[in-house]
């Protein structure tokens, strides 16, 4: 009989659900209180927050929607109104949601979004702007476009940052002032950055615990804890959350408690999106092999360099620096991604890599090259799992089980070669 494994759940992560629910509820009911609402792709939502607008964050909302098991229903609405099934599932989710709200089609209440006063198309990827363009054409919702090009390589940061800073200052801020009818609140932006810096600093201390063998927590735990370093940015309650999390990890580390019980057999790098709609499903599958995903490109892109954030200076400039020099926007490209893996694989004693590939999203570039390179450089095997972040129609469970089986057989066979025992 195969050995049985389970995750030792952290107590602190249970506190995140209510915080996240509160955020989306405040957004859902914003219009009732006469507040302005924005929808935003990419990270410029901080500018809406600084103006006291309630603002959604495209990827965060899609993850929430998928996590609340509402994606299937909304994707169906989108497809019934003409969206094609190969289209980015986050795009379809937003088209379906707008259609539902505009036309009174019933959907799960806790994921309803109010139609925005402004859409901020932060073009981290072009698909992230297509939904805003499509909603403008369909419903006439106002759009402001910001090009947040992904840096191809580290040496490009120096000339990309001034362009992005200019866009924020000359395009986005004037538009925010026009929509809100008041001057941009730089002080509020500084306050938000102050909290973000603090939270991201403690978060980095928590990440250090992933290096411990066995690790006291899993990437699934960190995935649940991402909101404070992204769309819950600036909320004071995010600081005590991470303080509690750190204390719990410290305690586990001191007592040598592994996140995977009875033992952590394999340490895995998880590449690509976290499978938000199917997080529990994947966590159970991976855990059943005694494997712990402890790192990945996606979770590592949430303001990894808080030391670069200087809330006392020019808040726009420091924010842009955190995005580019701070490597927040580069990990999904192959070259910066490989640099990150070169650092993480040996430091975190990684046994193997699972490349999660979303069929409707190609944002995680270079996966096949990385798979080859990691094998060559470190003798670390990898597999690709083809699925999607939200659309259940895009994956076959049996195929994933077969691939995981084969992958862990390879890891088992290479156990002797493990660098970290």
């Amino acid at each position: 009989m195969r050995q049985q494994f389970k995750i030792n759940r952290l107590a602190t992560t249970g506190l995140m659900g209510p915080m996240v629910d509160k955020h989306w509820e405040e957004l859902r009911t914003a219009k009732e209180r006469g507040e302005k609402v924005a929808w935003c792709s990419g990270v410029p939502f901080i500018f809406a927050y600084a103006m006291d607008m309630k603002c959604h964050f495209m990827a965060g909302y899609s993850a929430y929607c998928a996590g609340r098991k509402a994606a299937e229903q909304i994707l169906e609405i989108a497809e019934n109104t003409g969206e094609l099934p190969d289209t980015c599932s986050y795009h379809r989710l937003h088209m379906g949601m707008a259609e539902a709200v505009k036309n009174g089609i019933p959907v799960k209440e806790d994921v309803i979004l109010p139609i925005p006063d402004l859409m901020i198309a932060g073009r981290v990827c072009p698909e992230m702007s297509h939904y805003a363009e499509a909603l403008y054409r369909k419903f006439g919702i106002e759009v402001v476009g910001i090009e947040l090009m992904t840096p191809y390589q580290e040496s490009d940061y120096s000339f990309l940052e001034p362009f992005v800073e200019r866009q924020f200052k000359e395009v986005l801020i004037p538009k925010m002032e026009e929509v809100c009818g008041k001057p941009f609140n730089y002080d509020r932006m500084r306050e938000i950055l102050t909290v973000l810096k603090k939270v991201a600093t403690i978060r980095n201390e928590c990440l250090e615990y992933f290096k411990k063998v066995p690790s006291p927590w899993t990437l699934w735990d960190y995935g649940v804890s991402l909101a404070p370093v992204i769309y819950l940015m600036g909320k004071p309650e995010t600081v005590p959350y991470y303080e509690k999390l750190k204390a719990e990890l410290e305690d586990r580390a001191k007592n040598n408690i592994s996140a995977i019980s009875p033992e952590e057999k394999y340490r895995v790098f998880w590449d690509g999106w976290l499978p938000w709609g199917f997080l529990g499903q994947f966590a159970r599958k991976i855990t059943s092999y005694g494997a712990n995903p402890i790192s990945g490109r996606y979770p590592w892109e949430m303001f990894p360099r808080p030391d670069l954030i200087d809330p006392e200076g020019d808040p726009v400039r420091t924010f842009v620096k955190a995005l580019y020099t701070g490597t927040m926007l580069g990990n999904n490209m192959a070259k910066p991604g490989l640099s990150l893996m070169d650092k993480i694989v040996p430091e975190y004693n990684i046994d193997g890599i699972i490349f999660f590939t979303a069929k409707s999203c190609r944002i995680w570039k270079g996966q096949m090259t990385m798979l080859n390179q990691m094998e060559r450089r470190y003798g670390i095997p990898g597999i690709t799992l083809e699925a999607d972040m939200a659309d259940g129609k895009m994956f076959s469970e049996a195929q994933i089980d077969t691939r995981l089986n084969a992958f862990f057989e390879v890891l088992e066979a290479r156990k002797e070669k493990r660098r970290w025992i």
Partner: protein
């Protein structure tokens, strides 16, 4: 005439041989450009030959070790060609992003089989605001500087304006051929037209111009198609060539293509560059033109659907054939609007989803036959 058309077809179907021969004959360098936005004139002015990257002529095999099979045909095929060392005659490659898949190619190539010269550009979308134009010009300057390094040749305003004139001439000659097809549908088959435009992306422009000049009067003498053919417009294929077999099928089933809105067609030569004292700025101005509308450019105000409907109406076409490249996100995201708009206008439109690999032509034939019935039913 047939000799010139055969030459264009040969270059279009086998650019590998054509370019290798050209390179041997001239001793000059060849620079591959990712389709759609790169101003080829700057490369031309450096004395090198710009060629637009293409979808190859064989099934993807080795490439699938480097790129997921659910990427578009151009991405997979181009990477496949590079890995099979079929593109070793390219001395340099220039990339930018028009979509996420366009971001996949450059690093895959640079990390696995880098050419001698390599450049990744950041070409911005058409968003309102001064910073976008300024940044575009900055990037064009960076491109110019890099090309000067690669070629060892200074690009002066004079040489750049000279290249612009050559390119403008090519655009105007191609426009004349398109006008001829509009006036006398069927004079030029869709596959011939594709080869004429596609070969322009792959040949020395001066040579192409001279071939076009010899071709035009002869085409004018060609007999017009007779019979009851249904006039249609093609749209789609934003950055890659459609299968000629599908173009043939469109004509075999009783339609005639009178105009198109495809990249290896009218979109390639749509706008001239205005000659001026600052040619880089002139090139930037062409880049920033909003017509033909381009769903990869982020311009939400200029409706692509208006452009398509106008094209159908001004050509007295009975319908439009949409060629949607499988896994093309900009087209996928826009398509629901196209469908709705054509329904609203009462103009028949058919969607053909096309792949790099051999498609089921019989399935396409059935769809086209049903489309014709719809058109005839509404006539």
């Amino acid at each position: 005439m047939e000799k010139v058309l055969s030459r264009f077809a040969a270059v279009s179907t086998d650019p590998y041989t054509a370019l290798t021969t050209w390179k041997q004959d001239t001793g000059r360098k060849i620079i591959g450009c990712f389709p759609m936005r790169i101003p080829e004139e700057i490369i031309h002015a450096s004395g090198m030959l710009p060629v637009v990257m293409w979808r190859g002529n064989e099934a993807v095999t080795l490439g699938h070790s480097y790129v997921h099979n659910f990427n578009c045909g151009l991405t997979r095929s181009f990477i496949d060609d590079v890995m099979k060392e079929k593109l070793n005659f390219m001395d340099g490659m220039i990339f930018y992003r028009s979509c996420l898949q366009a971001e996949e190619i450059p690093s895959t190539i640079e990390l696995n089989a880098p050419p001698s010269h390599f450049l990744y550009l950041y070409l911005p979308p058409l968003y309102p605001g001064i910073p976008f134009r300024d940044f575009l010009i900055q990037e064009l300057k960076r491109m110019k500087q890099r090309l000067e390094e690669w070629s060892g040749q200074e690009i002066t305003n004079e040489s750049l304006n000279n290249s612009i004139e050559i390119y403008n001439k090519n655009r105007s000659l191609l426009k004349r051929i398109y006008e001829l097809r509009k006036k006398r549908p069927g004079t030029i088959k869709a596959r011939e037209m594709l080869a004429i435009v596609h070969s322009s992306m792959l040949m020395d422009k001066e040579e192409h111009n001279s071939l076009l000049e010899s071709l035009l009067p002869e085409l004018e003498g060609r007999k017009e198609l007779t019979g009851d053919k249904i006039r249609v417009v093609l749209s789609g294929g934003l950055c890659q060539t459609p299968h000629t077999a599908i173009l043939d099928l469109i004509e075999e089933t009783g339609m005639v293509v009178v105009d198109d809105d495809i990249y290896t067609g009218s979109r390639y030569f749509a706008n001239d560059v205005t000659l001026g004292d600052n040619p880089l700025e002139s090139l930037a101005d062409r880049y920033m033109k909003k017509t033909p509308p381009d769903p990869t450019m982020g311009d939400w105000n200029t409706l692509w659907t208006d452009y398509m409907v106008d094209k159908v109406k001004e050509n007295s076409a009975k319908g439009m054939v949409s060629l949607l490249i499988k896994y093309c996100p900009p087209h996928l995201c826009y398509y629901p609007d196209i469908r709705r708009r054509f329904d609203k206008e009462g103009i028949p439109e058919v969607l053909l989803e096309v792949e790099h690999e051999i498609v089921s032509l019989e399935q396409v034939r059935t769809r086209l036959q049903a489309f014709i019935e719809v058109i005839k039913g509404g006539a």
